[in-house]
Subunit: 186 residues, 2 copies
């Protein structure tokens, strides 16, 4: 694994424990890891069990992430916002950052986040005062779709809480497109 | 079928042709139709083919709906907003209406729409001036989750265009919860 990626992992592990390894799938590193769903599991786990599906891993990771949901602790996104951890930025303005999910679920898969979390660990924590940033985020999703050439067909998804598979407690919108999306939506 | 449902269908058919029958799955009628995916297909089709899956039907319906996406024609939602067609309203304020999807994909499945479409046939048509209503809609999704007892875990989905399975060209947010949601989101 490339040194920058390992350095990122080390710094991230200080924040969130074992799960932080998985959180790295949100960023693009200089020497990309193969798109193997097991990349999201801790390394020792990858070696002893190759039968774990990406889906159950995703749900388990979401449950683990939820443990510290209300701690207000920094997340991997803080380092992405500060550019301490590199990402492939698709759109940015003073309030919003949009970057590629490194574990894409469609040919286009971008995350849109507020630069200032301001209590928005999840959509379920939104207050009336957040309406402005929520509007900016949803509009930014449209800008992303335009920039990515999927304006004629894209899906926006917001997961709030473990049963929705939220895995990073900094509000984020998923923008997906470039293929026929199915129904139900997960 | 109950008379009110038939009356609703007749009025809807004036708006959107055969596909409008399918659009009825968004509303709850006084004598609920069994939750059979084939309900969404035209009646003659239901009789000759019982092997069509709900998924492909959903995609086909979305493609058909897209034909008139830019016509600015009224949709089934106009009649729901005017209460001409009954729905089970979960939340309402001066700008937003939230009501149950009659073809729920989870124990809780509510649609959140702007009362005034104002050009928002789909998220892909959003303009900067729409940020305010977009913020209100996303915040309303949180209010709905709270009211429905799923604030600890819910997913919000916005489909824009046929490849995302959008089937009514009046912007709407899906709020889903009450079960473990899967990944990828469709």
């Amino acid at each position: 694994m490339a040194a920058p990626a390992m350095a990122a992992m080390n710094s991230v592990s200080l924040l969130r424990g074992p799960l932080s390894l998985r959180a790295l799938h949100f960023i693009r590193i200089s020497n990309p890891v193969p798109r193997n769903p097991l990349f999201r599991a801790p390394f020792h786990f990858r070696r002893v069990s190759s039968s774990v599906s990406a889906i159950s891993d995703e749900e388990a990771a979401a449950r683990a992430a939820a443990v510290n949901a209300d701690s207000g602790a920094p997340t991997i996104f803080d380092k992405i916002i500060s550019k301490e951890i590199p990402s492939t930025i698709v759109y940015e303005d003073e309030a919003v950052l949009a970057f590629r999910d490194i574990s894409p679920q469609a040919p286009v898969h971008v995350l849109v986040i507020p630069k200032l979390r301001d209590g928005l660990t999840e959509l379920g924590k939104a207050e009336k005062r957040h309406e402005e940033i929520l509007g900016r985020l949803l509009y930014a999703a449209k800008i992303v779709a335009e920039k990515e050439g999927i304006i004629d067909g894209f899906r926006v998804v917001v997961n709030s809480g473990p049963s929705a598979c939220q895995s990073v407690y900094h509000l984020h919108l998923h923008v997906l497109g470039g293929r026929q999306m199915k129904w139900p939506p997960g």
